[in-house]
């Protein structure tokens, strides 16, 4: 099912949480929304889910306007940060709940979903008897049991420990692909956003600063905010930036710009040595891969003039519609 959002706005008192936000998602597409914490991503999801009413704008599901429909009339699944299982119901009852409310037959659905989340034996147990990861899996199964055409996920793994989180990401990704569910995944973790979405909406100040694939964001960041938010580049000024891999420690042939930097520490990332540097000019800390372990405390960074790039547009993200 396609989802199309047009000029969505929402204000809490003086806080413009959503500012004329628009985007479109094709059936079966997976999208991530990433942004700093407290930027209003959750409000966006709650509006899509029908738990909150926007001040302005429309939400179309497969051409149908659902903006004024309440949550229970929308057939959208929502998985919250916390599992929020009903403590007085067994695992099976929890999963069957939604289908039950809609008067659907549930037995085979519950069985399939229990198998899908690998918890067939836990069917008769109560949520309190499960681990955090198991609970979140049940929550997911419960959301899927109403056969939603769109699934919204609001940082569903953030309360899990890191190892489990990684497993769950792939598992959920597979499940969504298998069932062809259109999904929107909210997170504040850049890596998770790239893992869980074919497209990423970078959310800031009530709108998407850029809505594109991870590749596109790396190649063509749209504005300074994107550059600051991801660590693919170093921002030189309001118009210019440079890719991290183009920054060099030794003076290249040809024209270049030079910056003074202070070495803070060297660590390892993906078995590669990286230097953590403080660049005085921008009052900014950056991290660069370096083959050299004998860097001195004060170093110079060289950027070839032809590596400096300019932002493509005026910095606003409006050409996606």
């Amino acid at each position: 099912m396609t989802i199309q959002v047009e000029r969505l706005s929402k204000k809490f008192r003086i806080d413009q949480v959503l500012n004329s936000l628009s985007f479109k998602l094709e059936a079966g597409e997976k999208m991530s929304i990433v942004g700093p914490s407290g930027s209003g991503k959750t409000t966006l999801l709650r509006i899509l889910a029908g738990l909150e009413i926007p001040d302005q704008g429309t939400i179309l599901l497969e051409e149908k306007d659902v903006t004024r429909l309440s949550a229970r009339q929308r057939n959208i699944g929502l998985v919250f940060q916390q599992p929020l299982l009903f403590p007085h119901m067994t695992v099976a009852e929890n999963i069957a709940y939604g289908a039950h409310m809609n008067g659907k037959k549930t037995e085979s659905t519950v069985k399939d979903l229990l198998a899908a989340i690998n918890l067939t034996e836990a069917a008769a147990q109560f949520p309190a008897e499960l681990s955090g990861g198991q609970q979140q899996r049940v929550a997911l199964a419960r959301a899927l049991a109403i056969e939603p055409e769109i699934l919204l996920l609001d940082e569903p793994f953030s309360s899990l420990d890191p190892n489990l989180r990684q497993d769950m990401r792939y598992w959920v990704r597979d499940l969504l692909d298998k069932r062809g569910i259109t999904s929107i995944f909210v997170t504040h973790d850049r890596e998770e956003a790239m893992l869980m979405g074919d497209k990423i909406g970078v959310f800031h100040e009530g709108t998407f600063q850029q809505f594109a694939t991870a590749e596109e964001i790396k190649l063509n960041p749209r504005n300074p905010f994107i550059v600051e938010f991801f660590d693919h580049h170093m921002l030189l000024n309001d118009q210019q930036f440079v890719h991290i891999q183009d920054i060099q420690f030794s003076e290249p042939s040809g024209p270049c710009i030079t910056y003074e930097a202070e070495l803070l520490q060297t660590t390892f990332r993906f078995s590669e040595r990286v230097a953590h540097l403080y660049v005085k000019e921008f009052d900014e800390k950056i991290t660069l891969p370096t083959p050299d372990d004998g860097l001195s405390k004060h170093i110079e960074l060289y950027i070839p003039k032809d590596a400096v790039q300019h932002f493509q547009s005026d910095g606003k993200c409006n050409d996606e519609q």
Binding site: I76, L78, L84, H88, Y97, G98, M101, A128
Partner: protein, 266 residues
């Protein structure tokens, strides 16, 4: 860590359990005369005397009817306003909350005296309906407090989850709210019935001596009956809340998702 449990059981035993036992034992034995060296003399006369009093039965039934009505209205007001106070933020919430709890502090005697003329005017004086209304004053604030707390514990997200899964308002109430508020419903049942059973003065004022509940016959009994009968009567007072509790518990069992309560508790 090893703990000595004796102090607790001694304290609880003496302070809280002994009085009940005292009443029970006295109700089944003749009035005590230990100072004359007499021991306990078992008897059932007190109970048969108590039960043979026709006033006792009609007072018991009226107490139950009034108590049940007071409870029903308490549940209705408590559940609705508790939900509003716990789950919504709106202007004037703190003021409304204080106003709703304030009747706990206002002397119910003053309220009853003040309402007496009004009750006469609208024809509710000397009727059980009037008594139910006046019994609401000392009970409803507690129910609101209890349900307010309970709804905050359940929290808004769980309700939204149920909403997301397509539950209607009524289904959500029956499948999520009621089962999760079970403990509070029990507390409210107990508290309401006991408070209603405690009211002599306001029942007398509004009921005008026409509505006879158990406290109304307590004082006349005190003048005529011996200690054993009074003890039996006192125990009888405690049985009513228990009866009401069992009825409510039975009704709660009819709710969906009500089985196996012992497994949920841990």
């Amino acid at each position: 860590m090893k703990r000595n449990h004796l102090p607790f059981y001694l304290t609880a035993g003496l302070l809280f359990i002994a009085p009940t036992l005292l009443l029970l034992v006295q109700s089944f034995t003749a009035p005590w005369r230990f100072q004359r060296g007499e021991g306990l003399q078992f008897q059932l006369n007190s109970w048969s005397l108590l039960f043979s009093d026709p006033n006792l039965w009609s007072a018991t039934i009226w107490s139950l009817v009034i108590g049940a009505m007071v409870l029903l209205i308490n549940l209705f007001i408590g559940l609705t306003s508790g939900k509003a106070l716990a789950l919504y933020s709106f202007r004037g919430r703190t003021i409304v909350e204080s106003l709703l709890l304030a009747p706990i502090l206002i002397p119910v005697l003053a309220v009853a005296m003040g309402l007496h003329l009004f009750m006469i005017r609208v024809g509710l004086a000397d009727t059980w309906v009037g008594v139910v209304l006046i019994h609401l004053v000392p009970t409803v604030p507690y129910s609101i407090k209890i349900f307010h707390h309970a709804y905050s514990e359940v929290g808004r997200p769980l309700m939204e989850q149920s909403q997301m899964l397509g539950a209607s308002v009524i289904k959500q109430f029956l499948t999520i709210e009621m089962p999760l508020l079970r403990t509070s419903i029990r507390s409210v049942t107990f508290l309401t019935i006991v408070i209603s059973l405690s009211q002599y003065a306001i029942t007398a004022i509004i009921g005008g001596g026409q509505v006879i509940t158990l406290p109304m016959i307590f004082f006349p009994f005190l003048d005529t009956a011996n200690a054993s009968v009074m003890a039996a009567f006192s125990v009888w007072f405690a049985i009513l809340p228990l009866v009401m509790y069992i009825v409510v518990e039975g009704l709660l069992q009819l709710l969906p998702y009500s089985r196996k309560p012992w497994r949920i508790q841990t």
